[in-house]
């Protein structure tokens, strides 16, 4: 595999809805604690609709971090590639939130700018109720999630190194 020219690590989820904020939490930790090669961008995208395509189209490889509604215990990790996403049905789109991750990839297939490498690092949430902050089980899943991202980056030829002086992650929504 040739090394992708650009890699995006994208956190998805609503930081005001409990464990749905796991994506933003993980990417902020990653950004604060690791020195990443210049071709890697990290972003907290919140809960985008088709706005996602703008961020996906700029990268040859993407790693998405998101809460996933999968069978299993809260805090377990699940990994998905593009083939897994392709198997998901498209649902009716009523509001601009409804186009899901798979819709964004389908759309980009049509325009020819879909990233060629896709990994979803999914975390099974415990609660998605109103309130900022993660449940204990999901917080414990964040270190393995970061390890998984670092592993994928290494596979893509982008080696991250721990910062000599780690920064403080910008988790403004967690402040009391």
């Amino acid at each position: 595999m040739t090394t992708p020219a650009t890699i995006a690590v994208l956190g998805l989820g609503n930081v005001l809805l409990g464990d749905d904020g796991v994506g933003p939490y993980v990417v902020e930790q990653l950004r604060a604690r690791y020195e990443l090669p210049d071709n890697v961008t990290v972003a907290d995208l919140g809960t985008p609709g088709l706005g996602l395509t703008a961020h996906l189209s700029q990268a040859e490889a993407v790693i998405l971090v998101d809460a996933v509604a999968a069978k299993g215990e809260a805090g377990e990790l699940r990994f998905y590639g593009r083939d897994d996403l392709n198997r998901l049905p498209l649902n009716p789109r009523v509001s601009p939130h409804d186009p899901a991750v798979q819709d964004a990839f389908w759309l980009m297939d049509l325009t020819g700018d879909a990233p060629r490498e896709v990994l979803v690092v999914g975390v099974i949430p415990e609660r998605l109720t109103l309130g900022a902050g993660l449940s204990d089980r999901v917080r414990c899943a964040c270190e393995p999630a970061i390890e998984a991202i670092l592993g994928e980056l290494a596979r893509l030829g982008a080696c991250a190194a721990p910062r000599a002086r780690p920064g403080v992650p910008d988790l403004w929504w967690m402040a009391a």
Partner: protein
Amino acid sequence: MARITVDPITRIEGHLRIDAVVDGGEVQKAWASCSMWRGIETILLGRDPREAWLFTQRFCGVCTTVHAIASVRAVEDALGMEIPLNAQYIRNLILIAHALHDHIVHFYHLSALDWVDVTTIPQADPVKTAALAESLSDWTRNSDKEMKQVQTKIIGLVQSGQLGIFANGYWGHPAMKLPPDVNLLAVAHYLQALEFQRKANQIVGILGGKTPHIQNVAVGGVMNAINLNSLGALNMDRLYMMKDLFDEVIPFVQQVYFVDAIAIAALYADWFDVGAGVKNYLSVPDLALDPASTKFDLPGGTIFDGDLASVHPITSSRDEYFRKGVTEDVTHGYYEGRGAQHPWQGETKPDFTDFQDDGKYSWVKAPRFQGKPMQVGPLANVLVGYALGNELMKKWTDIALAKVSEIAKRPITIDKMHSTMGRLLARAIRTVVLSELALRHWELLVKNITGGDSTSYRAPSFPKGEVQGVGFHEAPRGTLSHWVVAKDGVIANYQAVVPTTWNASPRDEGGTPGPYEASLLKNPVADAEKPLEVLRTVHSFDPCMACACHTLDVEGRTIATVKVL
């Protein structure tokens, strides 16, 4: 008789549900409901009002900027603050660019495929498609070569049996009427639109620092450092980068989106007779032109009973007509109590029951203006502007209606705008108006900066005791208002009355339905299993239940899409 439930559980929670009873090929009664608690404002209680915008920006991942700006406006209103002119212009440019992006996405990617049958495209003739396109518009990307390329892509999809992004349409539905050439043209522009909505969003990024969550807003102005010669600041380079992007997006809006909306409206002219619903309209003034926010480029006001002569202006957020007019009724919402309260007194105490046709059935409260349901959105914005004699609104509305009438070969007048198609056409009219205002506000900003003003922020100060304010914004989906009460510098109450709560409002204490519910009465339904026509009317409002969460559903449940009982 059949009962249809459209219930897309794509995000598990926080979505819109529509129920309709269909008999004799028409909807006889409808309910609009939201399935998630909307008390997200309670997260703000006890916080510093200067930080509220950071949180409100996360209410909705699609309309981030609008909630940020409405929030700082609410706090500034509570403090009676003026903000620097540069801050007004910069905010206006962000709001315009966001709206251009959002309206383009709505038309092409969220609603066009209700009217355009992708599966007929293999029968289209790309040469005739290009000739048709060139007869309608000067757009440079309508060549037969371009059309042929798009057709080849679609033929590939259709032959593979994998329709990809088009997999979930109601293809071959009897309500689909466009000839294959028009369908091909629309899908060619659907693909081009992806490119231009991104460019519009890049403008938001240049000013806001990042998208989707802008970083530059503050109570008291914006945090953009302005220095024409400094690399890190808002300088000439960035101003012209922004202008170049507008110069690409504006022709797309004027020569493609506006033209396509007119063509679809004319070819489906019978949809000007469907979906009027609530003919009371509310819109607020926006694009402020002075530090005190008393002069605006877009006017606001109310219209009752569809009578344009009844128009009553809303002059600013200080206008008591607006401040006192708004209430929220919880009779049919999953909240404690009955009746209506003003947002500053509003409570958000959940009282969940099941879906009860005649009882509580939605997490949306029922906003009312002077006790009446109001329709908000581009149609309200256009009609109020038209009725108040706003020059740009009048100009573009008259152009659109003349062109639609010419193609439809029947007169489509302003009174036909109270309809499903009127809402779609009004959105295109508003977008083209905003595309003209974009350059005007860019010029105002550049002129003000080159005139020597580099101020963009004034620090707020909070008095002891209680203050209350309202901040509004005429957002892409309509009137948005944030209502804040601060006591000794911390938030004591916060209510966001968002556009979709006006439109998706449930019935109120008097049993009067909200705009979605009313607009669906008599809506045709050819096949209850495939309620395409219901989606047309619902989509025409551009629904957006704020506060979505983003859990990826990997089990691939196909999901109570449409249920006929």
